[in-house]
Point group: none
Chain length 210, copies 4
Amino acid sequence: MTARPAERDTLSRSQQRRRDDIVEAALKIFDRDGFEGARIDDVAAEAGIAKGTVYLYFENKEALFEGVVRDVVKPAVDAVERTAENEHMSASERLEAQVTLIGERLGKGSMKILLRLMIAEGPRHDNLRDFYFREVVEPGMAAIRKSLADGEASGEFRPGTADIHPQVLAGAPMMGAIWRILFQELAPLDIDSLLDDHLRTVLAGLRDRS
Amino acid sequence: MTARPAERDTLSRSQQRRRDDIVEAALKIFDRDGFEGARIDDVAAEAGIAKGTVYLYFENKEALFEGVVRDVVKPAVDAVERTAENEHMSASERLEAQVTLIGERLGKGSMKILLRLMIAEGPRHDNLRDFYFREVVEPGMAAIRKSLADGEASGEFRPGTADIHPQVLAGAPMMGAIWRILFQELAPLDIDSLLDDHLRTVLAGLRDRS
Amino acid sequence: MTARPAERDTLSRSQQRRRDDIVEAALKIFDRDGFEGARIDDVAAEAGIAKGTVYLYFENKEALFEGVVRDVVKPAVDAVERTAENEHMSASERLEAQVTLIGERLGKGSMKILLRLMIAEGPRHDNLRDFYFREVVEPGMAAIRKSLADGEASGEFRPGTADIHPQVLAGAPMMGAIWRILFQELAPLDIDSLLDDHLRTVLAGLRDRS
Amino acid sequence: MTARPAERDTLSRSQQRRRDDIVEAALKIFDRDGFEGARIDDVAAEAGIAKGTVYLYFENKEALFEGVVRDVVKPAVDAVERTAENEHMSASERLEAQVTLIGERLGKGSMKILLRLMIAEGPRHDNLRDFYFREVVEPGMAAIRKSLADGEASGEFRPGTADIHPQVLAGAPMMGAIWRILFQELAPLDIDSLLDDHLRTVLAGLRDRS
DNA sequence: GATGAATGAGGGTTCATTCAT
DNA sequence: GATGAATGAACCCTCATTCAT
């Protein structure tokens, strides 16, 4: 009886494609204009559909925002976790892989946009912020923490390493992401090179026993 | 027709005080609601004045935002620079002071709010972003860069240190600030302790010659 | 391309049944939400069909409203007229039967709904209002007028009775209907008892020659 | 601090006049288009102001409707009550005055519009319907009831008159009002003449002891 | 015939900005 | 200078109507 597609449990192939189009368009518009500044009209135009159609797939602007956040987060989750489980790597190698992954994810594409959206809008959208924390940040920190603990246990890192804040490792990738968001045109930053410096310094520091 | 205060070159003492009240109120409202979401009505109410009065001091919402950014940036500038010139400190001590200062500034008060506003709105306000970069970020990075170079020159740090991205040092304070903005309620982070871990690790890494 | 059912002269049995379902559903929704407030979606859902199907049977919302009015009016017409022709009743008995019938019709079921719809929407739908007047009101008034005239002719009522406005007789049933529409929950009114009072008083008044 | 006039306790003379203009305009537009059909734009145009100004005086469309109802009801209240207290009239005279007053009020001007609005929208606006009942209908019925009782007590009317539904008396004025709303153009009705017939018949009936 | 996704005009409401007092 | 009522453009969302399947 005329349920919106959005209210059904499942969407047909073509409906799913359309939903994805809308989310993709919304991500772009939200990035350009922010949540408040974004006009549903623009999202629809970007997606090549009529304004009303957006409302067939999302209850309202807030739900659209939520859809964007969830869709961007989804594929990010497993990637981080998979890295943590590479058993045949040394702790250093794993940390390097993890920091590099975070740097790459955060520094470009939709995760960069999401990061900015979360910083800008997160405090006004508690449930989305919580979701982002739970699904992205917490697992990431946990993965790093495990590598640190493993490195201490194996003697690769100095004693006490397990208790170091994982944010120390994630700091440079975060800095790189923010830099790209704000200053890339003004003062280009080579993220790979930044992460290189960061990893070389920090890993040396973790091995140091003086 | 008297000119608006905003159009005069100088403001009387009481006008300056009123202007500051408006900026202070606007900072709070922009932080709470974002640029688009902020209502001039709310700013005026927060400042205890009538809505029209805001327009006596600022041409429009955009100019008010600019006023906020400039006023917050102003006192921040010198502080960083002063630190860089403390000649009787070792490079390590100076870096420690600098990183700690950045962490404190960025992690609380109006600079934390400004950071968030810049990330959220910067890409839509190029001149403000440029201003922020020129007045805050560049000097900060330069100060760190100088400490790194001095440390290498004095033999305190390993060769090549001067070429390390200063963002490596600033990463942890930035991470701490973002964390506080987003997750402080969810998962409290002790910034001092984070910076401790960061500095111990990084400084050890910079001294390491292995 | 087969013609829509609505454009054919005749409907199959099952089509007629479906049309009736739609009209019945629409009556309910129009009653609940008014003409402007009614959503075709809701009518369709109430009828257990898809929204588009409504448009197979009715050109547009206006036509659906017209269908509702006509369908409700249809069975009402003959009833009133039949009463007027009961030759073996006294004038009083006939008036009593007529007033009671009007009271029952108007005070409940679809005629009550129709009355409200006509008051609410009639002035904006002249042709429907005219139709209602011609098919329902006029015959009703005529029937009463005839009873009054017959009663005067037979000496049952005082001279001049034939010239009395039939609305005098219909007033109480109308009042009862309006009361039920608006205040039944607030201050229940027993229509039978109201009509009793009304008839006793008015008939006595008509017989009075003082 | 920029409170809407509507949110203040008191309105200045000119504000009160403007508020009244809006209500007057709204009454006209609501009458023409119904509550749902009325456009705030049209109300504003009718009142000769900008659309936004309406919202300075009324929170929303619903509040505007409420304002209309309350403003129309206000002056109506006392009139009915005053009639009930005319001690030097006979019960018949008082009933006549009351029925005539109801007929005049209900049959034209803003009370006629209000009646129609209440029938159309009342069931969807419980509090307004209750207000209308409490302020207008109940006092009116009570006044009639008192006249009936007084008339029985004084012997002017037959025993049992006090128990007659007052709606019997109010029926004809109501019928006249509905008629004017719906059919005045189609079949003009002289309300005075209707009420004459009604009163002559009913009062005779009330005096009758046969 | 029946369906329901898609359309887009329309309307309620908000709020930056203006200006008479 | 200060005020806050007035303005009207803008934007979210709804829903009558269409039409491809």
